[in-house]
């Protein structure tokens, strides 16, 4: 996939705090970017702009405040600042920051919701089953 490589290269800037923290790749989007489809990625993703479909990563997912996401999200730590519609699975922790809006069911191990965030959906807490990814 050429896009992956291209993006991984463009990522090396210090723009996002978490870039390559543990030597992992990061798929990084800007506010004008649009992603549609299914992404299975060995690394982290910084989602911004518009995302539609399905995103499963081994690392973290971080949704920027201006982002508009309608997708299934699955990652280790998931941090939401923007609007998300869809099922969210966090193998470790899900954080909803104060301007986050999430409508969808969530499965998490740990959960933090800051005052001001909006959540509509079913919350299940406990160990996340071994990557429910059908691939």
């Amino acid at each position: 996939m050429e896009t992956q490589e291209a993006v991984a290269e463009g990522t090396a800037s210090a723009e996002n705090g978490e870039v390559k923290r543990d030597g992992r790749k990061q798929f990084s989007m800007g506010p004008q970017d649009i992603f549609e489809g299914k992404l299975i990625y060995d690394g982290s993703i910084h989602a911004d702009g518009k995302v539609e479909g399905e995103v499963r990563v081994t690392g973290n997912i971080d949704v920027a405040s201006g982002a508009n996401v309608r997708a299934l999200l699955e990652g280790s730590n998931v941090s939401l600042k923007g609007a998300v519609e869809g099922t969210v699975t966090a193998r470790d922790k899900l954080t909803l920051s104060k301007n986050a809006r999430l409508s969808g069911d969530i499965v998490v191990r740990r959960l933090q919701i800051d005052d001001g965030a909006t959540l509509n959906g079913h919350v299940r807490m406990g160990d996340v089953e071994q990557q429910a990814s059908g691939q």
Partner: protein, 128 residues
């Protein structure tokens, strides 16, 4: 005694506040005109017109409705069937599960407004 928390809660004027301490236990259904602070154990449903805070090692099993804000502290636990709140804070470490519905308070949208002005005007005209 008029002003504990005048604005935030209670259409009947009084800002009531109920505390269930760490050794307290409630089984059943509780409605409060005001705020509720739980650090004990609750099996049943809670409804408050103000804030609900589950703090310390408080545990709640059941439906929770807070017209304003719900806070679940880091050692607290809420296993709710149905959680309806206007604002929600869940601290890291808390146990939390259930169906969450957030938004503005529901029981507002049906006041009878539109025809009142006309009714006020017409009787006067007829009297005349």
């Amino acid at each position: 005694m008029s002003s504990r928390r005048p604005g935030s809660s209670g259409t009947n004027g009084q800002g009531n506040s109920v505390v269930l301490g760490p050794k307290d236990r409630l089984v059943g259904e509780l409605f409060i005109e005001g705020d509720l602070h739980v650090s004990g154990t609750v099996d049943g449903s809670l409804e408050a017109t103000g804030d609900i805070e589950i703090a310390g090692s408080g545990k709640v099993n059941g439906a929770v409705t807070a017209y304003n804000r719900l806070v679940v502290g880091s050692d607290a636990s809420l296993i709710g069937s149905d959680v309806r709140v206007a604002r929600l804070t869940v601290e890291d470490g808390a146990t939390f599960s259930g169906k969450v519905t957030m938004g503005k308070r529901e029981p507002v949208p049906q006041p009878v407004e539109p025809e009142q002005p006309q009714q006020l005007v017409q009787p006067k005209a007829k009297r005349r």
